[in-house]
Amino acid sequence: MGRKTPLFALHQELGARIVDFGGWDMPVQYGSQIAEHHAVRRAAGVFDVSHMCVVDLKGPRVRAFLAQLLANDVGKLKAAGKALYSCMLNERGGVIDDLIVYFLTESWFRAVVNAGTRDKDLAWIRTHAASFGLEVTERTDLAMLAIQGPEARARALELLAAADREAALGLGVFVGRELGRWFVARTGYTGEDGFEIMMPAADAVPAWRKLNALGVASCGLGARDTLRLEAGMNLYGHDMNESTDPFESGLAWTVALEPPGRAFVGREALEAIRARGPGPKLVGLLLEDRGVLRDHQKVLVPGVGEGEITSGTFSPTLERSIALARVPAATPARVQVDIRGKLLNARVVKPPFVRFGKSLVT
């Protein structure tokens, strides 16, 4: 038996198929995974993401601490509520986890890390926080709902007190703020607009029921995975891990080597890796033949070498298979993938595959 979120009993009541995800008993789908996927692309869906780990970091030196801990630069966070996506690296430049950190006040930042990496992340954060005198609090009292899709914000506003709706509607992309007992952020993992809302655990079931009553579809982790992959977003443990660096994981854009004086964990390793010249890269693949690309299938790059699929699935929006794959730097536009001994043709594309309901590949 795994850990359970405050919504577990409701998931069962709604007929969800429950699977283990990083030690948590989570809904993978309620009915048709493809229907849940389309609900998010076309209207609105709600996901239980309460298994993710919310960590409050408090103390006067919190910004300096995060400047050392994260590969992206919290110096970019100037307005209260603004969020930053970053990797947390080890000394070798490998990715311990990817996370989102919100700047709330100069003495309070809030991080959201992955469920499956919770224990090692907290240990790493606490080790490095010790010399900064920070208070590190895991917010196990909070549930988190992700409401995603073109109609998601309009539906979610109806959960809020009338006085808070204007503030919620005014949130910029990748910005969050406290509204009453809730923390509402305009973030997500689907390639659609929407909110992620952290709330006291007791509020989660009534909020979910109200969303369902407003026509927002219950969506499981299965649809969450196909949506994020269409959106070209990495999944920790698949597309990057402790033995891969951000440059070979499609995450160079999250590494801030400027300003040069910011000494963050992993910086020296990344500079050495960069000095060696182009290494493997993470690309999108679009399967041109029939079949489904899956994690760990071998990618054959004629005359260059081999790569490997890190995340593969069937794309419900494109109605064909897509993947992220780590391939040699010199990989040209066409490759082959070994699927059960058959070599199938795939095209290299730049993710994302789908954004705001629209296909970005032809």
Binding site: R17, V28, Q29, S32, Q33, I34, G222, T226, R290, G291, V292, R294, T313, F314, P316, S321, R340
Partner: protein
């Protein structure tokens, strides 16, 4: 509760077998199996003429989530793979015992016969034991 027609035979690995008038058999996956797999998006069926051993993987059904092998319930020679599934794999979800059949085969002489496979009642016990 999933549908388990009384006139078919079954395997523990969730295939069903229908004996046709000419002595060949038609094979598919059960309603329980299709439901457990979820929306199917790709089906690979064997070519006619292939000889298979009992319990040999001979077809693949892929949902959004994962690929799963389908095993030959009997030894024999494949006489047809269902050609309609290439364009409409979801037929296995919507009509698992009918238009969603996967393959047909001629059982090998002297091998385990379809009659010796699980009855509908025995298969229901298998499903119940899996918590389904």
């Amino acid at each position: 509760m999933s549908n388990v027609p009384a006139d078919l035979k079954y395997t523990k690995s969730h295939e069903w077998v229908r004996t046709l008038a000419d002595g060949t058999v038609e094979i598919g996956i059960t309603d329980h199996a299709q439901h457990a797999l979820g929306d199917l998006v790709f089906v690979e069926v064997p070519d006619a003429g292939r000889t298979v051993k009992q319990d040999e993987p001979c077809a693949v059904v892929e949902s959004v989530k994962a690929a799963s092998d389908v095993y030959a319930p009997l030894a024999g020679e494949i006489t047809a793979g269902n050609p309609a599934l290439a364009d409409a794999p979801e037929t296995v979800n919507s009509d698992p015992y009918g238009a969603g059949w996967l393959m047909r085969m001629r059982p090998a002489a002297g091998a385990v016969a379809a009659a010796e496979l699980l009855s509908a009642g025995d298969y229901q016990k298998v499903v119940a034991a899996e918590g389904g």
